[in-house]
Assembly symmetry: C2
Homo-oligomer: 167 residues x 2
DNA sequence: TTAAAGTTTCAGAAATAATTGAAACTTTAT
DNA sequence: ATAAAGTTTCAATTATTTCTGAAACTTTAA
């Protein structure tokens, strides 16, 4: 396989995986591209490599910066802005996990708590509802707590986790 | 809050969370509905509760069955088919994790391995490509291994995991 | 101050994904 | 054997998400 072919395959794969997990394709592809770039890239270079429009590139770069996994960089002497990606995968995963917790899990938790706290009569249906939503709340809360704990390790948490699980 | 209102809110929330994580909204909603149902439900009841078409209900129920988190049930005396959901959240999470590993992570791994194994010249770019895709492969593989390990606990793995992480 | 270069925004277009509904198919009971 | 009831399928429609590209805005340097 050619380098170019491998590179394209890698970017496509990462983009597809992104969409399957709720991250938009272009966003994932831009990140993938920056991950394997040795130098910070300009918006033009990104547009060119991925064959996407300026608007699309700009919006998704901004989103990646909001997520905290891509950084602006100013090359001295150049007026243009350049971008680099977080390349440390442990850090990357933690940042994504934290953000998704904040944006998606925490709001869902709030609602689960709210609905599981309703006053019920003693009908079978309402009892079951309360019981299941309480369980769901507990479960999601535990999951979120795990994410929080992971976050504290920072260095090599994945390897540490494996060791802990195995023993 | 009314029971009906709480129920709708719960179903909407679960559906939204589903879409954010790559599971289609209706699929997540049907599962949410079955989770709080005390009795197996027929396709008509599901259509009626969620206000969706027969085709949509049927396709998504079938998908849930394929995933292994909803089961067909035949009530004795009734010809119609009824459906129940896996209500144990530990089992549910494990089943979903296993399926997603099989459907999405494993194929991605194959490609990462493939592209990280290309012959490279000694240009900076190609070296960086190989290095990063190898790291990515290792990382995704480790993640997948964790999922596999989890799977083996079955009972109360989430609680067990928390204990292990904390100490 | 101004105009060229660089950057961002956003309404409309395009692509993708989900849903409908009616037709085809299957099962059951007579 | 047949027709009513139940179930599944899938082409066409609808909804949602993403992307484009041109216009507006900002920065820089002469």
């Amino acid at each position: 396989m050619e380098f170019i072919e491998a590179k394209n395959k890698y970017i496509q794969t990462w983009g597809a995986l992104g969409s399957q997990w709720g991250i938009n394709k272009t966003m994932a592809q831009i990140h993938a591209l920056l991950m394997i770039s040795t130098e910070p890239m300009s918006i033009e270079e990104i547009m060119d490599e991925l064959q996407i429009s300026r608007g699309n590139a700009s919006m998704n770069i901004r989103a990646l910066i909001d997520w905290g996994i891509v950084f602006k960089e100013s090359k001295s002497g150049e007026r243009k802005e350049f971008f680099t990606a977080e390349k440390d995968l442990d850090k990357l995963a933690i940042t994504i996990a934290k953000e998704r917790s904040k944006r998606e899990i925490k709001p869902a938790l709030r609602i689960l708590q709210e609905v599981s706290n309703i006053e019920i009569n003693n009908s079978k249906n309402q009892k079951q509802f309360k019981e299941q939503t309480e369980k769901l709340y507990d479960f999601v809360l535990k999951t979120d707590n795990i994410i929080e704990k992971m976050t504290q390790y920072k260095e090599n948490w994945l390897s540490k986790l494996i060791v802990k699980i195995i023993k």
